[in-house]
């Protein structure tokens, strides 16, 4: 079964079972997102993809498209709120773009550019977060984790493992590793696992690859995240 929804005045077809973001992406309409990735179970936690559906705020990545919905995606109000939500992610962790090797390839940064975020607005939490450099090929820098759950889902759904989990409550959330020591080196992750490559920020990095592409020649240095996302999110992620 198919039907039509209307996003910002544009009629967009959908197939039964599609979420609003899936229908939008297929029709070439970008909705900002971080925890959503095609091919993964929708999560709905980052709330960047919030759209107004018939007047009500909904997460486009989890909310099913249904006949006749009127969806607002582009509005000054939503853009402002999405900018604030992105700023929340920036102050929650310790995101120092100039010294981060993911800079230019980072979706958090890309979304911030898209939303014209010029400062952090909120006071920083200066959270004390550890690094896990125990694994020979993969590094975790917890300072940059935004709890999008993508590595958790990637490990479970794509790699058939359960390397990651998210523990803690409230502002004390933390990414944990499934190994007796809690360290990545003692887990069964492999360098070519999806989970090692899916991180939208610089929290999970492949060692010794950080500067192979110089800063200035990276994905979001020249392209808008909306174009990149629409071009890539047909089949799979950026890898």
């Amino acid at each position: 079964m198919t039907g039509t929804i209307n996003i910002d005045g544009q009629n967009i077809p959908f197939e039964d079972g599609q979420t609003i973001i899936e229908a939008a992406t297929a029709a070439g309409v970008y909705i900002p997102h971080l925890c959503h990735q095609p091919g993964y179970t929708p999560h709905g936690s980052c709330k960047l993809c919030t759209v107004k559906v018939n007047g009500r705020n909904c997460s486009a990545c989890t909310f099913p498209a249904s006949e006749g919905q009127t969806v607002i995606n582009n509005s000054a109000e939503l853009e402002q709120d999405r900018r604030r939500i992105t700023q929340m992610l920036f102050v929650e962790g310790n995101h120092l773009c100039p010294s981060c090797e993911k800079s230019g390839n980072c979706q958090l940064q890309g979304v911030a550019y898209h939303l014209n975020m010029l400062d952090n607005h909120y006071p920083h939490f200066y959270a004390h977060r550890e690094m896990d450099a125990s694994h020979p090929d993969i590094l975790i820098d917890h300072n940059r984790c935004i709890f999008c759950n993508l590595c958790v889902r990637a490990s479970k759904e794509k790699d058939g493992k359960n390397v990651f989990g998210i523990a803690g409550r409230g502002i004390n959330k933390r990414l944990i590793v499934n190994s007796p020591s809690g360290q990545l080196k003692d887990s069964d992750i492999a360098v070519d696992d999806c989970a090692a490559h899916i991180c939208p920020t610089g929290a999970i990095l492949i060692k010794r690859t950080g500067y192979q592409v110089p800063i200035g020649q990276r994905i979001y240095d020249h392209q808008h995240i909306s174009e990149v996302a629409l071009a890539q999110e047909g089949p799979h992620g950026q890898d």
């Binding site: 936690s45 709120d81 939500i85 102050v91 929650e92 909120y122 803690g168 409230g170 499934n178």
Partner: protein
């Protein structure tokens, strides 16, 4: 340890859904969840270790590091604070020689704060090894400290320390005349189940947890779903500060609640039900198990109930200190042995609930009312209350009044009447529906208690004019930041930012734009959060900002810019290191 773990695993039938109950038992036995137990459970239950750690870290009553052999938690609800809780905690801390949040070096005792324990009518309250301590005062604390130093088992402490009273001051149509055991089941079958559902519809009964969804519609939607199993869940996780009516209903009317669940089971076609009992009500667990056992013996639970061909049984599952589990989908996650993180909706529990099967989740009071309606009929119930809010509401009244306790009123009663009945004078305002509800001022006492005016899940906290509105708001705002599950950005980060921003203003570091900023943050958290917790977390600020804007403005400094911290205070370390304390080693917050 292995013997112990094998025993509890066998009892739990090696089912991963029973993880929370297993962890509660391990916590009680070893005062924490040892790494060895985590590895063993992961292997035995075939679940990732990360899930177990996630559960342990999610629930306040579970710990990865050992707590004291006497683990004391003091309720930090606003009503406890109004009863001098802070001073008593300080006294307890000095008597036991342990700071709040710490375990004493000898491992004998640990002390901490906890969210409202549901004893607001007999506070200040606390918990020792999960059991409630009520009416705390200095003599009682002396008794507690002495018992601990003598290492007297909690079971041998004097009974009066643990006394919990019902304090029912005003009974109405439900509390006045409980039904006879079995009457709702026989009544429903005699009338016919479809006709009984129609009666429930006619009664106008709406969910008593606060949201007010029509009960008959919920049951009908669930019944209409084709599935292998259907489930009935009673939500007894009453964590809203100031609410304790479900504690009383389960203490004195459990039969009727279980009968309401059985009625729901008959109508939706469920064979299994759960009572999700908040961990703070551990003291009711054995008593409720005995009620269930008696009902089985009486043929009111189990196979072929009353020879009517109905099979249904109820299991009690204890929570472990997480307010969010009162949200129905978080509660279901918790029942499945996971952290209580609210699900994405749709689908709703009536189509995909426990183990993704159609599930009815209702509040304790809803089941109590449904059972009575099955006996008396819908018109009887609809004859009370207002057009949109039929029947009665059972309130938990606490705070500044002469007679804190349980009061049942037909919907539509005005606030003035309630305040007169509970003996409240010089009232400044009332928090209706708990922190997630509304603060009303003394200019609004003609307003009605009803879904169409002031809705409440039962919490009714009275404040007299000696109270400071901002203290109240601060306590509530900290509560939400503490209880946020952390799943979505606006609530995880936003509730903590609200706490920071409010504290900044209250501590006198706010300047001109800070109240505006506070309000816009409130709107963001309210409109973008994933579930009811985040959507209501800003209510204490918003409802008081609307009524008392001056109180906030008065805290602001009359300058255009004020740093969010104490500048001179921040230099203290530098002064100490430099051994200086002259004028040049101090900085003023602003240019004079």
């Amino acid at each position: 340890m292995k013997t112990f773990l094998t025993a509890i695993l066998t009892e739990a039938d090696y089912q991963p859904v029973r993880l929370l109950s297993l962890l509660r038992k391990i916590q009680a036995q070893y005062r924490h969840i040892p790494a060895e137990a985590i590895d063993y459970l992961a292997e035995a239950l075939q679940i990732p270790r990360t899930q177990i750690i996630a559960v342990v870290e999610f629930y306040s009553f579970l710990h990865l590091t050992p707590q004291g052999r006497y683990d004391i938690l003091i309720s930090d609800s606003i009503t406890d604070r109004m009863l001098d809780k802070e001073n008593l905690l300080g006294y307890l801390s000095s008597m036991l020689k342990v700071n709040p949040g710490e375990v004493r070096a000898d491992g004998l005792v640990s002390l901490n704060n906890t969210s409202c324990t549901g004893m607001c009518d007999q506070g200040p309250a606390g918990l020792v090894n999960g059991l409630p301590l009520t009416r705390l005062d200095r003599p009682r604390i002396d008794q507690i400290a002495a018992s601990i130093e003598r290492q007297l088992p909690v079971s041998e402490w004097p009974d009066y320390l643990f006394a919990v009273n019902d304090n029912i001051y005003k009974a109405g149509l439900l509390l006045n005349a409980p039904i006879a055991k079995g009457a709702a089941i026989t009544g429903a079958f005699n009338r016919g189940l479809a006709a009984t559902l129609a009666e429930l519809d006619r009664s106008g009964l709406r969910g008593r947890g606060g949201a007010g969804f029509k009960t008959a519609a919920k049951w009908r939607f669930c019944a209409e779903e084709t599935a292998e199993h259907h489930y009935v869940v009673c939500n007894a996780d009453e964590g809203e500060p100031g609410t304790f009516k479900d504690r009383v209903l389960l203490n004195s009317h459990a039969d009727q609640v279980f009968e309401g669940m059985t009625l729901a089971a008959a109508i939706i076609g469920a064979k299994q039900g759960f009572l999700y009992l908040r961990g703070e009500y551990l003291h009711l667990f054995d008593k409720l198990q005995a009620v269930l056992q008696q009902r089985r013996a009486d043929g009111l639970l189990g196979e072929n109930i009353l020879d009517l061909g109905l099979d249904f049984d109820i299991e009690i599952c204890l929570g472990a200190g997480a307010y969010i589990c009162g949200e129905e989908s978080a509660l279901i996650e918790s029942l499945e042995g996971k952290p209580g993180i609210p699900r994405n909706r749709p689908p709703y529990p009536v189509t995909s609930g426990y183990l993704n099967q159609p599930t009815v989740v209702n509040n304790v009071e809803t089941f109590l009312a449904a059972a009575k309606i099955a006996v008396q009929g819908g018109d009887w119930f609809a004859g009370f209350g207002t057009d949109k809010s039929a029947g009665s509401k059972i309130l938990s009244i606490c705070g500044d009044c002469a007679r804190p306790g349980i009061y049942e009123y037909p919907f539509g009663v005005n606030i003035e009447q309630i305040l007169a009945d509970c003996g409240a004078t010089d009232v400044l305002g009332v928090q209706i529906g708990g922190p997630s509800g509304t603060f009303i001022s003394n200019k609004e006492f003609k307003r009605q208690l009803a879904f169409e005016d002031l809705a409440t899940g039962g919490s009714f906290i009275v404040f007299n004019d000696s109270r400071n509105v901002l203290d109240i708001v601060q306590n509530f705002t900290h509560f939400f930041a503490h209880e946020s599950c952390g799943f979505c950005t606006p609530c995880r980060v936003g509730t903590s930012l609200l706490k920071k921003q409010l504290d900044k203003i209250i501590d006198g570091h706010g300047s001109a734009g800070d109240v505006v900023e506070l309000e816009s943050l409130c709107q963001l958290v309210k409109s973008h959060s994933h579930c009811g917790l985040g959507q209501t977390a800003a209510n204490p600020i918003l409802t008081t900002l609307q009524r008392y804007p001056d109180l906030y403005q008065k805290r602001l400094k009359n300058i255009s810019y004020e740093p969010g911290f104490d500048l001179d205070g921040a230099l203290e370390t530098a002064r100490r290191m430099a051994r200086r304390n002259d004028a040049g080693a101090h900085l003023s917050q602003v240019e004079d």
